[in-house]
Symmetry: C2
């Protein structure tokens, strides 16, 4: 209900997903039922496999995560409760990112063995297969075991979205050699080398878009800066082109012909378009979309969420953590320390609008 783009296109996206997946899915619209019913009655060919779940409140985009969590009858809180109660398998939201994250963590908790959930984005590569990057903003400060858990979660997610068996996982650092990087990297590298993950070693910034790896592991500080930087490339190119267009007719024609390409490039850098950004590690499937998502972005996100549910991503993450001895013991000292930190959504209110 709180999306910048309005709920009308969310309804369209949901209907398209219901049509595309067919009998295997039921799309539940959570929000003010009168509004949703009105929107549905204005549409033709409404499929059977949809329903409505009423929620009174809407979390405004400008609200802080802390205040957003308190609205217990918001569409976000109600949708996540459906997942908690087993009435839904996944929750997709283009709402206030901070509030979605905080409410998801409070309502669903974490997968057993996960210390910190992570926001996960897809970056485009020249091969056409995306690089999965995490964490892109949930955790500003990370410890080595967090990075090794991200590697497990990212590996499972990549195997689902890219349909590959053994995704190549790289640790983002400043040199490919062992011994390069800061203390966090060196210790995380040691953990990952012992794991059963397809860990290819350290990678550099240039390898993220190259297609050399499938999963790039980074702390949420560096990852968020990279994501925002990547999202700004297209606007910069377009503005530079506009300046160039004034110089001569050849580049003007070139730029005009290339706009569709640039548009597609932006789409691939825009994780909402490429299936949203899952919050991996919470005990339930949660996919965050940009507040400005169009119908197609919502459809894509729902289809990815459906894939994650049918491929049992939660159980696979849990099993892989155990196989790799990466899960923290939820009864131990370590847990209380991790809980003390908890998840701290670190983006600004501006992000909450944009994400």
């Amino acid at each position: 209900m709180g999306a910048d783009s309005g709920f009308e296109c969310i309804v369209d996206g949901g209907l398209d997903a219901a049509r595309r997946v067919g009998d295997g899915i039921r799309v539940v619209f959570v929000g003010r039922s009168s509004d949703i019913e009105k929107a549905l009655s204005a549409r033709e060919d409404v499929p059977e496999n949809i329903s409505i779940h009423h929620a009174d409140d809407v979390i405004p985009m400008h609200l802080s995560a802390t205040d957003g969590v308190r609205l217990r009858n918001s569409s976000v809180a109600q949708g996540l409760r459906l997942v908690k109660e087993g009435k839904a398998d996944a929750f997709v939201s283009p709402g206030n990112t901070g509030a979605v994250m905080a409410t998801a963590l409070l309502t669903l908790g974490r997968i057993e063995g996960v210390s910190r959930p992570a926001i996960t984005a897809q970056f485009p590569t020249s091969t056409g297969r995306p690089t999965v990057v995490l964490d892109v903003g949930a955790n500003a400060d990370c410890r080595p075991q967090h990075l090794s858990q991200f590697a497990v979660m990212g590996s499972v997610y990549s195997s689902i979205v890219s349909r590959i068996d053994y995704p190549r996982v790289g640790l983002v650092s400043i040199g490919e050699e062992r011994g390069k990087g800061n203390d966090l990297i060196l210790e995380a590298q040691r953990l990952l080398k012992k794991s059963k993950i397809n860990f290819v070693g350290n990678i550099e910034g240039r390898d993220i878009l190259s297609g050399k790896i499938d999963v790039a592991i980074t702390d949420g500080f560096t990852g968020n800066i990279l994501l925002k930087f990547a999202e700004s490339i297209k606007p910069m190119l377009v503005k530079s082109m506009q300046r160039q267009i004034q110089t001569n007719i050849f580049s003007r024609v070139g730029a005009m012909l290339l706009l569709p390409f640039l548009k597609r490039m932006r789409n691939t850098f825009d994780y909402a378009e490429s299936g949203g950004a899952p919050l991996l590690g919470v005990n339930g499937i949660v996919v965050i979309c940009h507040g400005s998502s169009n119908a197609r972005a919502i459809t894509n996100a729902i289809v990815v969420a459906y894939e994650m549910a049918t491929k049992r991503i939660k159980e696979r993450i849990h099993d892989e953590l155990i196989t790799n001895h990466f899960g923290h013991n939820n009864g131990s000292q370590d847990k209380s320390e991790d809980n003390r930190h908890g998840i701290v959504y670190t983006a600004s209110s501006d992000d909450q609008r944009r994400l």
Copy 2:
């Protein structure tokens, strides 16, 4: 002598710089004098304001920084010694980056008050005026006072290359609000707020290319990942375009017409092309170029080094550090601690070739 592109085009770049700046400059070619003399005798219109300084050895690109430093008669060591002895004002090198950095620090030391020298790159913006970004790779782990010193050094450098009086300085973080970021950012923010620098506050990844600020401050870990990521954008776009070119004639024509634009974009992301990457903070002017620099890149770097010398960048950095109380006391406890860390060049041997 050790450049991948060979010393012939370095000679051409030096001659062009001597012609372009004219009487104000003398370009000294440091290396095997017989080779350089031979190259010069093959050229026409050799200007008067050049000379040759002989050096026996060449540091190969694949050599580690530690081994490179030991070659005391290398062109790098000899060139830096000229600066140390006051016989040259600046040293420009497309050689082994790690060896140049280590030798520069050993030979020249640091500007009084500087804890850590920083590699400084220019990123393109849509306004045409670059964003100066530092550190992009000299220091993997930074402390708040290092970042505040980078802000002073970057501010002085930006005022020289962009010819502005009061550059806007931003601290790269994950949210614009105060209170966002990790511990390092929060403490650096506190220091910068007290300073006389034109500190605009935290910026996000998306602001680096926007032209909203003139100087972006970051630790060498995040900065190096960003730089490498930025350098990889053009190859990714070109490869994606090549795939697209196969799809239809319109995008084929568009892509072909746009290649000059992309070429220029790469040049602006390539800090060698935009005047090289100065190692700010060492007690002398040192500009590092890509090993594959062409003549134009070398000319640009020499011209920027000349500007830095005539605008007395060393003295200005020193004065600004004192004005802002940012310099560490070189006689204090703090110094010994900083010396213990020293400068640690963090890039791989592959970087040493590429940088």
